[in-house]
């Protein structure tokens, strides 16, 4: 779509940002980044320059009012940004606007920021900078007092930066309490960073409040700070559904289940296995991974059981996980869900996928991750992971634990069922004083599937699916009723008649 009125963009190369901003920051303009304490403003200001150097060879100028350049060099080096080296190479330049307390000036009358602008201009020319970060306005306000003057000057600073032809970020403190900071009216482009506590869980988000004359995604986008690369946005709501869906089928590992699904799972589909504890969800995941074809690789993320436990379980079903691992066809990652927020888990999962390049990925279970998330974060997590797998054309299998032994749906399912392609239910069935197990394919996107609920058994060779339960209804809800033979015949008769009438 060609829209000449749309502003030109500068790709930031901050992971995820260019997607949610529809192409990057407005080029040649100033964007205000407003956020409370600890909201990663300085990291964003630094990363804007670092990613520009790393990915586009664009030089940057960092204007600091709060911390000394030495502190910034040191603090940001933990992200692998070699600022000192870049300075030597003429790619990064500091303008030190921080003041030693003893240099603090006495104010006498009106002033402007001419000194600052002359220095920034000088620095920008010296290294040919295309990106400028100023961090932060609040620290400057502290130095000079006189907020009204600073705001007037800020406006002029924005104009002068524009005249220099650079794309810039100015950070500002946002207390979040009461009035909106006046700085937000000064620039055409405003981004808000938040670091909030929600249901006792930390949540970092970035919101593009406005880009004047330019489109962008609305709403808050969660982000995480990766130890080795800085801010990574998880652009969930704006994920493009550009994935081609595949017709190719793969086996679930259980031949009868493949038949129920109309010929196996789709190669790029995500299947949700839902069941109470002990119904065989881990088994389904195990069968799925053990059924690797030639040239296939499987990746298992286990959040509930230890490695030894998994090995033992698998062996009990006739699957040798260690052997598969030794052949380099399987990788198992065991982690406690509590060690990290969902955003970080997502990043780790992606990292493993990128390293190992699996064709099948199983997560056992999603419910474990649900425990550590808010509903919203959890839904975003599943959506992001699903989209990622589909984009990579990887077959996914997620398990989900129902809270009650009989029937019932989980919150997990309610929130993610629309995201997954297929849902398979594993249920306990009470039949004539015995607990048996039933499997049903609830949904199979883009394909016919078996609509009956079949009995299955588990032995040392794994899962075996048998005949449909004929005389029992109410399995899904958990309130069973047993039908007598005569009732069944009546039903049968009823349908036969309908068919006859249609003919």
């Amino acid at each position: 779509m060609d829209n000449s009125r749309e502003l030109k963009r500068l790709k930031t190369y901050i992971p995820g940002f260019d997607l949610i901003s529809n192409g990057g920051l407005p080029a040649g303009r100033t964007t205000l980044v407003s956020g409370g304490p600890g909201s990663a403003k300085t990291i964003l200001a630094g990363q804007f320059l670092a990613d520009g150097i790393k990915h586009a060879g664009q030089a940057g100028c960092f204007v600091t009012f709060e911390e000394k350049p030495d502190d910034i060099r040191r603090n940001l080096s933990s992200f692998g940004w070699e600022i000192s080296k870049w300075e030597d190479e003429g790619k990064w330049i500091f303008v030190d606007g921080s003041l030693h307390p003893k240099d603090e000036p006495v104010m006498i009358g009106d002033y402007d920021l001419g000194g600052l602008m002359a220095r920034v201009n000088h620095a920008v020319r010296k290294v040919g900078a295309q990106r400028v970060s100023l961090d932060s306005i609040g620290a400057m306000l502290l130095q000079f007092g006189m907020p009204t003057v600073i705001r007037r000057e800020l406006y002029r600073v924005a104009w002068q930066l524009r005249d220099m032809g650079v794309t810039s970020i100015i950070t500002a403190e946002h207390t979040g309490a009461g009035e909106a900071p006046v700085e937000e009216y000064v620039t055409d482009n405003v981004i808000i960073l938040r670091n909030t506590l929600e249901d006792e869980k930390r949540r970092r988000t970035l919101e593009i409040l406005k880009f004047r004359g330019a489109s962008h995604s609305k709403g808050e986008f969660p982000f995480t700070i990766a130890e080795d690369s800085g801010i990574i946005l998880l652009p969930l709501a704006s994920i493009e559904l550009r994935q081609k869906s595949s017709d190719k089928r793969i086996t679930s590992g259980v031949p009868e289940l493949d038949t129920m699904c109309g010929g196996g799972f789709y190669r790029d589909s995500v299947v949700l296995i839902s069941g109470a504890t002990g119904t065989g969800k881990t088994l389904t995941a195990t069968e799925f991974l053990a059924a690797l074809g030639e040239d296939e690789r499987g990746l298992l993320f286990a959040f509930e059981e230890s490695r030894d436990q998994l090995y033992r379980n698998a062996l009990g079903w006739g699957v040798d996980f260690p052997a598969l691992e030794n052949q380099g066809r399987l990788r198992i990652i065991c982690e406690y869900p509590e060690v990290a927020p969902p955003e970080d888990h997502l990043l780790r999962i992606k990292k493993h996928i990128e390293e190992f390049k699996p064709t099948r990925v199983a997560v056992d279970s999603l419910s474990a991750l649900e425990r550590i998330s808010t509903l919203r974060t959890f839904r975003e997590f599943v959506l992001a992971l699903t989209s990622y797998l589909k984009d990579k054309q990887i077959a996914g299998l997620f398990t989900s634990t129902t809270p009650s032994l009989l029937g019932g749906a989980t919150v997990t399912e309610a929130h993610i069922s629309s995201v997954t392609d297929s849902i398979i239910l594993l249920r306990y069935v009470e039949a004539f004083g015995e607990m048996r197990r039933g499997i049903a394919v609830l949904k199979m996107r883009g394909s016919q599937h078996d609509r009956s609920i079949r009995e299955y058994t588990i032995d040392s060779h794994g899962m075996h699916v048998g005949e449909p339960f004929r005389a029992i209804s109410g399995i899904l809800s958990g309130t069973f009723t047993h039908s007598t033979n005569s009732e069944l015949q009546t039903l049968q008769h009823l349908f036969d008649r309908t068919d006859a009438e249609e003919d």
């Binding site: 006495v106 009358g109 009106d110 402007d112 001419g114 602008m117 002359a118 000088h122």
Partner: protein, 105 residues
């Protein structure tokens, strides 16, 4: 625009940083030059630095705001920021009371 100066180290060295010929700059130059001439003696040297022409100097002195007046000598330096509208106060804030020249009769 530097004032004529004796070769020796002056008793007082003032450096005034301004930006181009904005109203604020001109007002500050006029004010500080007037102050030196009217109130202070010959031992005072004033240097006017335009940050647009000398950004390196602005960088070295870490100037953010203009006009900025620095009393370089005697040490330790003192800084004033503003348009220096009140010469008596500027003299006082710079701690130069001792350098005030006795008024002619």
């Amino acid at each position: 625009m530097d004032s004529p100066q004796p070769e020796s180290i002056p008793e007082v060295l003032l450096r005034l940083f301004i930006t181009g010929n904005s109203q604020r700059s001109l007002r500050a130059i006029e004010g500080v030059q007037g102050m030196c001439k009217e109130l202070l003696g010959n031992g005072v040297r004033l240097e006017v630095v335009d940050v647009i022409e000398r950004p390196d100097e602005a960088e070295r002195e870490k100037i953010l705001a203009t006009p900025t007046l620095i009393r370089q000598i005697p040490a330790p330096p003192r800084r004033l920021v503003g348009d220096m509208a009140e010469p008596e106060r500027v003299v006082q804030l710079l701690g130069l009371k001792n350098f005030i020249r006795p008024r002619k009769a």
